[in-house]
């Protein structure tokens, strides 16, 4: 884990989102899919905490070597909005890479990747690493509308089968990502499932994988304070390893990638089916890693 003053190389508008590419070789060289960085906010604003952002892309080789990219939703809150307004050649105070990454299957081949909104950004990084290991990648992605589906063409490029779901039917099929899961698992003959997103989606993924007996890893989103294990704010209820009892783990250092079978979804208020929808402009801390 390094703390660097990183120059912004470029920024891009991608539908509802803004992507920032930074020159940060110390972080990029170590970054793995599922990990995140923490970007400091300016001193003169009233929002003080770092923003925690899933790594979308990190290049060790080639023309982009030493760069890393993350994606923000400008409407999620004041901090991500501030980040979305940054321009090339400005500098950001970044700590990373943080958190436990996804692990890759050794023998199993067919991987199904599930995400919605901006959370998909981290899954594309994972898809590249899986492809490099000779795995087959299929995806189910979605969002509220066409603009909220993150880089659908990239999804097509990386996967054999892609299912796109939008709430208004403006791209792919009308409906939620959750609705497409059973069919997608059948079609792709999935052997391993990866997911990223809001707790309610991950809970549905966990339930599906339990009934189908599929191994799975999920990258959770929970509001973070520090991002490196000091404050204990980003609590996730998990069963102890021996199954005897449970405790609150920290999404930042014990996660954000968890085995969904260990997460106690009933004890996680945000995972309830009736949990309030994420706010478009909360005016406070955006949900932690990969927040919508």
């Amino acid at each position: 884990m390094k703390r660097v003053r990183a120059e912004i190389l470029s920024t891009r508008n991608l539908g509802a989102y803004q992507s920032l590419t930074l020159v940060a070789p110390e972080i990029a060289e170590r970054a793995r899919p599922g990990q995140f960085v923490a970007a400091a906010m300016p001193d003169d604003r009233e929002f003080v905490l770092r923003r925690h952002l899933t790594i979308h892309q990190s290049s060790r080789r080639g023309g982009w070597a030493g760069t890393l990219e993350f994606v923000v939703d400008p409407s999620a809150g004041p901090g991500t909005n501030w980040l979305s307004e940054r321009r090339a050649h400005e500098f950001l105070d970044i700590v990373g890479p943080l958190g436990k990454p996804f692990s890759y299957p050794k023998r199993l081949t067919n991987c199904l990747l599930i995400g919605e909104g901006r959370s998909v950004a981290g899954l594309y990084f994972l898809a590249q690493e899986l492809l490099a290991r000779g795995k087959r990648v299929d995806m189910v992605i979605g969002g509220a509308s066409l603009e909220a589906v993150f880089k659908p063409i990239e999804a097509k490029r990386l996967s054999q089968l892609v299912t796109v779901m939008t709430a208004d039917g403006s791209l792919g099929e009308r409906g939620a990502v959750v609705d497409a899961l059973p069919g997608a698992v059948e079609r792709s003959s999935a052997e391993v499932v990866y997911a990223a997103g809001r707790p309610a989606l991950l809970r549905a993924v966990a339930a599906l994988c339990r009934t189908r007996k599929l191994p799975a890893q999920v990258a959770v989103e929970e509001r973070m304070g520090c991002g490196y294990g000091l404050c204990g704010a980003c609590a996730v209820p998990v069963a102890n390893k021996d199954g005897s009892d449970w405790d609150h783990a920290r999404a930042c250092v014990d996660g954000p990638v968890f085995n969904p079978a260990r997460v106690l979804w009933d004890r996680w208020p945000a995972a309830a089916a009736s949990a309030p929808a994420p706010r478009t402009d909360p005016g406070v801390l955006e949900p932690g890693v990969g927040g919508t």
């Binding site: 703390r3 509001r223 304070g225 294990g229 404050c231 204990g232 609590a235 609150h248 706010r279 406070v284």
Partner: protein, 318 residues
């Protein structure tokens, strides 16, 4: 005086810390995290998260939200309990290289007695900080430490039992001087001023109270003026009492302001969540300020502003 070497060391009633900048309770992780982030040998001291007799899972998520220049938080004192703490977390914290103060909390007098007893004779522990902002289970009061009777009783018991200096961390957002006097009379070595004041975070969009209502507190830069007022008032009432300022300190200037109104040391809390090296850079900034003022110790800054105010008041009345 000019022969004397300039040093950041401060003396808190017999506990000498290498610098006046400590890491506040609840912002130091479990021992392993910090050592990779900051050179703990250059930190004045580390206060552990608050430890209770039994393990506590703490509040359900979410536990944090932002407010203007601050954060509202509710961890519900998640901790492994005193036995597991002594077994695993305490050695890791102590090994990291900074003087270790253990924060203890409870709802009954017995809790505090048992916790102090368990820490007795532990060489790793240089001091005990008494968390007094939790609910009182015996008297069924929402906050234990806002009552002079309970502060007297609990601080008195811990101070009599402890073999190391004892610091009472008084609740924030209350009439502080009577509580400070009570803690001093009960035998506290020093006072930490103050704990987070109670707060609430509401989300208008979802029409919900965002965090666990019973235990939400305000932290961050928004607290600085409240902290300065508390330190100033207590220093005037108890000029010889060592005071540790806690609340809203994120820069060397903030730390110096706290020293000027009467603090001997400061604690950095939420600032370490944003910059883990803040305790070191703040101490460096204090050193710079000592040089600029040709002083040899942070203790020479102590209370300078408080005395100036007093002189001003005297002139105004004569």
């Amino acid at each position: 005086m000019s022969q004397q070497k300039r040093s950041l060391a401060v003396d808190l009633g017999g506990l000498v810390l290498p610098t006046p900048v400590m890491i506040a309770s609840g912002c130091a992780g479990t021992g392993r995290e910090l050592s990779g982030l900051v050179d703990l040998r250059r930190v004045g001291g580390v206060v552990s998260r608050t430890i209770t007799v039994r393990p506590r899972r703490g509040s359900p998520p979410p536990r944090i939200a932002e407010s203007p220049s601050g954060i509202v938080w509710s961890t519900g004192l998640q901790n492994p309990g005193i036995d597991a703490f002594i077994g695993a977390e305490m050695p890791a914290l102590a090994k990291a290289g900074s003087p270790l103060v253990v924060s203890i909390g409870g709802g009954t007098l017995e809790d505090y007695v048992r916790l102090t007893g368990a820490l007795q004779g532990r060489a790793e522990v240089v001091g005990i900080e008494i968390h007094l902002s939790g609910p009182d289970e015996e008297f069924e009061r929402p906050v234990l430490g806002v009552h002079v009777d309970r502060v007297t009783e609990i601080v008195g018991a811990v101070a009599r039992m402890s073999l190391v200096p004892v610091f009472a961390k008084l609740p924030g957002g209350v009439d502080i001087v009577p509580l400070a006097i009570a803690a001093a009379r009960a035998g506290a070595t020093g006072l930490t001023l103050t704990g987070s004041p109670p707060a609430l975070h509401v989300d208008a969009t979802t029409a919900q109270v965002t965090l666990a209502e019973a235990g939400s507190w305000l932290a961050g830069p928004a607290l600085k003026p409240l902290m300065l007022r508390a330190v100033h008032e207590v220093h005037r009432a108890l000029p010889r009492m060592p005071l540790i300022a806690s609340g809203g300190i994120r820069s060397a200037t903030d730390a110096i302001e706290a020293l000027l109104v009467g603090a001997t040391a400061v604690q950095v809390g939420s600032a370490t969540m944003i910059d883990p090296t803040a305790p070191v850079s703040i101490a460096q900034g204090v050193m710079k300020e000592l040089k600029a003022r040709a002083l040899t110790s942070p203790m020479h800054l102590r209370g300078a502003a408080a005395h100036a105010v007093r002189r001003g008041a005297e002139e105004a009345t004569t």
